[in-house]
Amino acid sequence: MTAEVLTPVTDLVTTPTRRRGLRGVGVIGYISAGVIAFALVLAIVGPFIRPYDPNLINFSYANVGPIAGHPLGFDGQGRDLLSRLMVGARTCVLGAMFVALLSIFIGTSLAVITAWFGGKTDTSISGVLDVVFAFPGILLAIVAAAVFGPSLLSAGLALAIAYSPYIARVLRGAAIKERAQAYIAAMEVQGFGVWRLCARHLVPNISSLIVAQGTILFGYAMVDLAAISFLGLGVQSPTADWGVMISEGKIGLLQGYPLESFSAVLCIVIVVSAVSFLGERLSERSKQGRS
């Protein structure tokens, strides 16, 4: 297998950042990664380890502060706040993850296709992307809610579509550079299939950029998804979700009980800060690796 001989050599030249994991992101980078890992674990196991039923309404406890057994107290309808926060992580974090992965998938595919075929394919795909660029994510999600009814799925799909052109545009340049590498030409001459070349060699060689962009996007997706749920067009009440909790807590907040809104705000702010910090660090690192 000549290819096996060729690739490692070019890999050394083109991707010095490959398989570096979290190295070089600094102390705050590690803390951020820890926060993200904690949020992900909570999103998966939260609904199983919550202390109380998050939807159990008890109006006599409405807006009651922390008491024994309920460390965060109750929301405006007397539901246990801690349980709702733990369950709410699911839609917020996993939803954003889904959006980020989907738009990375679409964006990377488009970038590789345009880089590989160039010419008319490139022009026509770029033209379509220009039209998608005209729709801000939030606007597309609102239109999607009007068409398909408000739900997390329609909001998530709309955001993923709205984000993909950004990914495609960032990755297109890197993919074109990689396409021009000698090893790709060498393997093409040897008759390796396009699919295998792209999936096994081209994409892995721009993976550090993909991961960095995906992380940044994950943060944007969390903010936008929470915003859409806040507007009432995403996750639907009574499902516990951080965005929904901020909007439902507004009634209590205006009467002087800010705990429900504020606790959800704090959760979002902490996770989003961690994600955006790590994303920036990773993208700095991938830029350094490429220059």
Binding site: D130, V131, A134, F135, P136, G137, I138, L139, I142, V143, A144, A145, A146, V147, F148, P150, V223, A226, A227, F230, L231, G232, L233, G243, I246, S247, G249, K250, L253, L254, G256, P258, S261, F262, V265, I268, V269, V272, S273, S276
Partner: protein, 315 residues
């Protein structure tokens, strides 16, 4: 230059036509028929059905309907809200002022506070710079809806300084009602502009020609204005322009949070009520505003930076 502007304008029109097709097509695909909305789900007699279909052009093929809609939209007629029986253009006209003033006020905050803090942070080292960095980090992490509830509680409920809900009547009252929404909307963007300004100013300060001018004792304010800010203006314009363009859609969130009667909040309401004509009309207006702002930024960018190749697309 003229050729560049003309080309951008041609692209603008092409994008708008394509976007309008997407908007119209998406809502055409929506499940449920407009007739059912009109009649409240009852099956009307055939002659009524025919009359309704003719009135709203429901019996025409899709492309003909799109063409009729687009032709009317260009002349300012965006159709009629089916549940409200009012022209969409009128409904938009009543609300566009609130959104426009909100975006304008927010842009002013972003430009003055963002660029101002960025310049201060970029020129001063040590404590001042750290304070700028810290405050921009905090406000960058605060999404507009989160900033909205925090401001509503702290400034509105606890301090009672400003109103937290509603649009207000009269000029000064309306402005008062816009202050908190504008701050909430600005929070993330201000931080972004501050950071970019700070690093651009720092980078220009380190350049050789600036250092030479400094060591030769050129007057400081003039030096900053003519050599540092002039060059730093290019990245600042890009990021400020992009964030200001994004406000057009994000306004919907703040308007809803503060109960402002603006286009965005009304769009959200129309989306919930499946009032398609309104959704189409407002989406079209917002997309047009967004795209036009982007073209203006592109042109401004070319004016500011003569090195930009006018023939190629601005990145």
């Amino acid at each position: 230059m003229l050729q560049f502007v003309l080309r951008r304008l041609a692209m603008l029109v092409a994008t708008l036509v394509a976007a309008s097709f997407v908007i119209y097509g998406a809502l055409y695909l929506a499940p449920g028929s407009p007739i059912a909305t009109l009649t409240g789900g009852r099956t009307p007699p055939p002659e009524v059905l025919l009359a309704l279909e003719t009135r709203y052009h429901l019996n025409e093929p899709f492309l003909v309907r799109y063409w009729l809609w687009l032709k009317a939209a260009v002349s300012g007629d965006l159709g009629e809200s089916i549940p409200l029986h009012e022209p969409v253009a009128t409904l938009i006209g009543e609300r566009v002022g609130v959104t426009a003033s909100l975006v304008l006020l927010t842009s002013l905050i972003i430009l003055f506070v963002g660029i101002g803090l960025g310049i201060i942070g970029g020129l001063r080292r040590g404590g001042v710079d750290n304070a700028v960095l810290l405050s921009s980090t905090i406000s960058a992490a605060l999404p507009s809806f989160a900033a909205a509830v925090v401001l509503q509680f702290v400034v509105g409920v606890k301090l009672g300084w400003l109103p937290v809900l509603g649009t207000g009547t009269g000029f000064s009252d309306s402005v008062k009602h816009l202050i908190l929404p504008a701050i909430a909307l600005a929070s993330t963007s201000v931080a972004l502009v501050t950071r970019v300004t700070r690093s651009a100013v720092m980078e220009e300060m380190g350049k050789e020609h600036v250092q030479t001018a400094l060591s030769r004792g050129l007057p400081y304010p003039g030096l900053i204005r003519r050599h540092v800010l002039r060059n730093a203006a290019i990245p600042i314009t890009t990021v400020a322009g992009l964030t200001i363009a994004s406000l057009i859609a994000l306004a919907a969130i703040v308007e809803t949070a503060f109960g402002l009667n603006g286009l965005g909040a009304y769009l959200v309401q129309a989306a919930m009520n499946k009032d398609f004509a309104v959704v189409q009309g407002i989406s079209l207006v917002l997309v047009a505003a967004f795209v036009i702002t982007n073209v203006v930024i592109d042109i401004l960018y070319a004016v500011l930076d003569p090195r930009v190749q006018l023939g190629s697309r601005a990145q």
